[in-house]
Each structure stands twice: as C-alpha cells, then as structure tokens.
Symmetry: C2
Subunit: 263 residues, 2 copies
C-alpha cells in the first residue's frame, strides 16, 4: 500500500471525509496548495469579506462560496467543506466550544465559507530553493504569535495580526524575502524582520500557537502574516458562531502552489 | 497661473468638487493612481464584493468604504466620493438615467462605495519604458469592447468582460506583457493577444466605449481587462440603483502608481 505522503489531494480528502485522517496536513500532497478555513453566518459575511480585502497579507482569499454552498469550485471540483478538513474549531461568541471531525450536523443554509492561502505554499518554494526551514527540520509545527500590530478593522471585525516565525542566518534573509514575495496570495513577503519586541512579542520561546523552535546564535527571526489571524479576530469580535480549521489541519486543494505565484 | 497638468491630486479634486473640472482625467496628476467608481445599495454589496474577488482582472479592488461612508481612507485622507469625480453615471434597473457632476442629493446612508484600479497606472509604466501608446499619440480615449468572455458570476452579478485594446508591433508585445504584469492591482497583464474574433470582437474599428485608434500594418492588438466591466455587468444585472464614474472621468488618488506595483 502506498504511503499517505504519495496520495493525491483527492485521495487525502477522501480519507479525511471517511474520518480516517484527523492529523495535521503539513507535508501531505506536496506541490498542492493548502488552505485556511473560516465559516460565518451570512449576516457577518460582508464585514468579513471587507476585512480580508483590507488585510490581504494575513487574509489572502483563495475562494469564497455563495451562502449555503459547501462545494468548492475553484480550489477543487469535488470537495465538501463540511467533511474534508481533518479537524474543525467551533467558536460561539468568541469562545472555543468544540473541536470536531466534521460539521454536517452543524451546517446551516446561511453559512458562508472563506478559504485563505497558507504558508505551506511558500515554504515549499523555499525548500525547492534549498533554503532549510527550522520547524520542518525539527519536525514541529511553525511558531505563531499574536502581535500588537492591529489589523485594519471592517464592520464588527477587528483584532491583532497573528504572525508565523522562521529563523534564518543573515545571508538567507534576502532570498527568503524574494521567494516569498512571489506568492502574494499565500501571505507574500515578511511583515517584520528582526526584533520581536517591536511587534509586541515578548518571548520568542513561548509562541501563542504551534511549537517553539531553535533559534541559533546569529540567526534573525523573520515574521510573516499568518492565516490564523482570523481566529484571533473572531475571539475579539465574538460573532454568534464561527467555524475554522484547527491550526495545521488544512484543506488540501487541487491547485498547484505554482499556480498561485505572482505573474 | 500653473496649468492643470501640474496640479496635485488634492488641487484637482478641489477643482472637481467646485464643479470647475468635468472633463476626462487622462494625463492629470501624472504619477498618481486614478480609480474606477462603483456605488451600490448595501443589499447588493456582498454580491458585488464577491464578484470583484472572483474577477480580479477586470475588477481589481483598491478600496471599499463602509456602508454610508463617502470619505476614502486609503486612496486619500481628504476626498469626498460624492463630489470629487468629474462626472457620474446613474443607472436605475440597468438603464442609464442621468449623467451628473455630483451626487450629494442622491446619497443614501446604505450606499457602499467600491474603487477599482485603472489602466492609466500601467500606461504610465509603459511610457516610462519608452513604449508608445497609440491612443495617447492620437490624443484619443482608449478603445474598449464588450467581449464574449463571461465574468465569473456572484449572486445577482453576471455579465461579459469589457477589455481595452492597445496595438503594438510584435517586438513590443513581450515588454508590454512584462511591464503590465507588474501591476496586478490595476488589471495586470493582457488577457488576450491577437485575433479579436476569438474573444467576440467583430470590428476593431467600432469600439463599444471610447474611440477608434489606428492599427498599423503588422501591428497586433493586445487586450487588457477593463474597469468599465462593472458598468456592463450592472446593465445586465439591473440592480435598483448603481452609480459609476463616466468612462475616462476618474477619481484621482494620493497613491503613487509605483505603490501599486507587485513586490
């Protein structure tokens, strides 16, 4: 039997749908874009769509579905957003109520689904350019932090930007900027390079999400806007209901990362 | 007295606001981005925002204002969208009802304003690279055509893509693609190069909007998605009310074209 590492996006979604894969998706279906998920009732949809328009770095939109629609069109022609994500977080009034493996029973006809780009796409581009990434070397989840950089508010949505951090030696920073800048639809170039305190991060060793990674002597922390930002924003804005993926447990699409590169 | 060509964006908006400039804005405030305008009642706002997300080439969003808001934040800190555009088209149920110089009397608290990128921005980049543009040489408005390329529909909005055409000799096509591709937020690279019939244009000499320009022997017509597309879509979707700029009579912003270039 072939290993899951060699499964196609469709095969992995099928496993997930049957409840046979509820783990993180890093390293799966290499070459294909993975996406962050946000589902909101329709009354919040305009405000949130406007929020993504004003904050394209943390919230780069890949696809938005019509109210009630759970089948994607652009990212895949045979996916069901209610079942094809390994784990979902269900927030009510900003509080995490439950973590579940499918949301068919929760689904309502006024739900609007947003799928946002994920840094896994640009990480693959870095690896292809022989730029090693620490959390992958250490077999961990990327370090993520809530900063004091405010997102631009839109309607009821406001809150701080969440960033992911990858440490690099000084001679790797410029190529890392160049390569990731080619992927505007998956967060693009870094938003901060260097001193974590400048963006409100007091202790690099204590990330708010994900794992702590080794920062070697002489290495510089480089920070990218992160698709977990909507979860921090939902915790602040407290909509009646919001369903997201569990960080690291992404939607796997049929779109190649390369298709998402800037022209 | 200095000529209007040398006026700042703020000075031109002030003239427009006082009703002293109601002509096209091509060539004014060189270096600064100009924008297409679409105003819709709030009940259409989510659908139209989704339409722009799905059709970023004809509808590249520069700024969206909250319901009722007529002051821009991003494109300028001292503009009034009700008075600062030289001429407005007012559509009711898809029919052009009037062309007016200001819309203060029409303004309603549920109006949502969308400002979209304009090809004037990439034309300036072409000129700076010494690539001449025919309609500018001939002192005309660019040729625009309704194609048979369908936009991706969103809610009530659907309709054909409108394109602008600039003819180039074969050796200029590649640089024209390269340069305009750097400006994704102002339509980006061409959507079609060559045979007009392939995109449903029967007669290059009879544009649907703007002027006819000379296409010299051996030159190839190159087509870009155009910000007049929303007007064609509004004519098809027939919302109760929609207010747009009159083609060529744009909003002049305080943002430099260079600030809109891809990283």
């Amino acid at each position: 039997m072939k290993k899951i590492d060699h499964f196609s996006p469709r095969e992995i979604r099928s496993l997930v749908r049957k409840g046979k894969w509820d783990k993180p998706t890093a390293g799966l279906a290499m070459g294909y874009a993975q996406a962050n998920l946000v589902i909101l009732p329709q009354k919040y949809a305009f405000d949130f769509l406007l929020f993504t328009q004003r904050n394209p770095k943390p919230c780069p939109l890949l696809e938005v579905l019509e109210p009630g629609e759970y089948r994607t069109k652009f990212l895949s022609s045979n996916a069901d957003i209610r079942t094809d994500i390994p784990r979902y977080n269900v927030y009510r009034k900003g509080e995490l109520e439950a973590t579940v493996k499918e949301i068919r029973d929760l689904w309502k006809r006024d739900f609007v689904t947003f799928l946002l780009g994920c840094s896994f796409s640009f990480e693959e581009a870095l690896l292809r350019s022989k730029i090693p990434i620490r959390h992958i070397e250490e077999n961990k989840n990327v370090s993520m932090y809530i900063t004091h950089i405010p997102c631009k508010s839109a309607g009821v949505f406001h809150g701080p930007m969440v960033v992911s951090m990858r440490p690099f030696p000084p001679d790797r920073i410029s190529p890392a900027v160049q390569i990731t800048s080619r992927y505007a639809s998956v967060h693009g170039g870094p938003i901060h390079i260097g001193d974590p305190l400048k963006i409100g991060i007091k202790n690099l060793k204590k990330p708010d999400f994900g794992d702590s990674v080794t920062v070697k002597k002489g290495e510089v922390p480089v920070f990218w806007a992160c698709g977990v930002t909507p979860q921090a924003v939902v915790m602040e804005a407290k909509p009646d209901l919001c369903i997201t993926h569990v960080p690291g447990h992404m939607f796997i699409s049929d779109i190649l990362n390369e298709e998402l590169a800037n022209p």
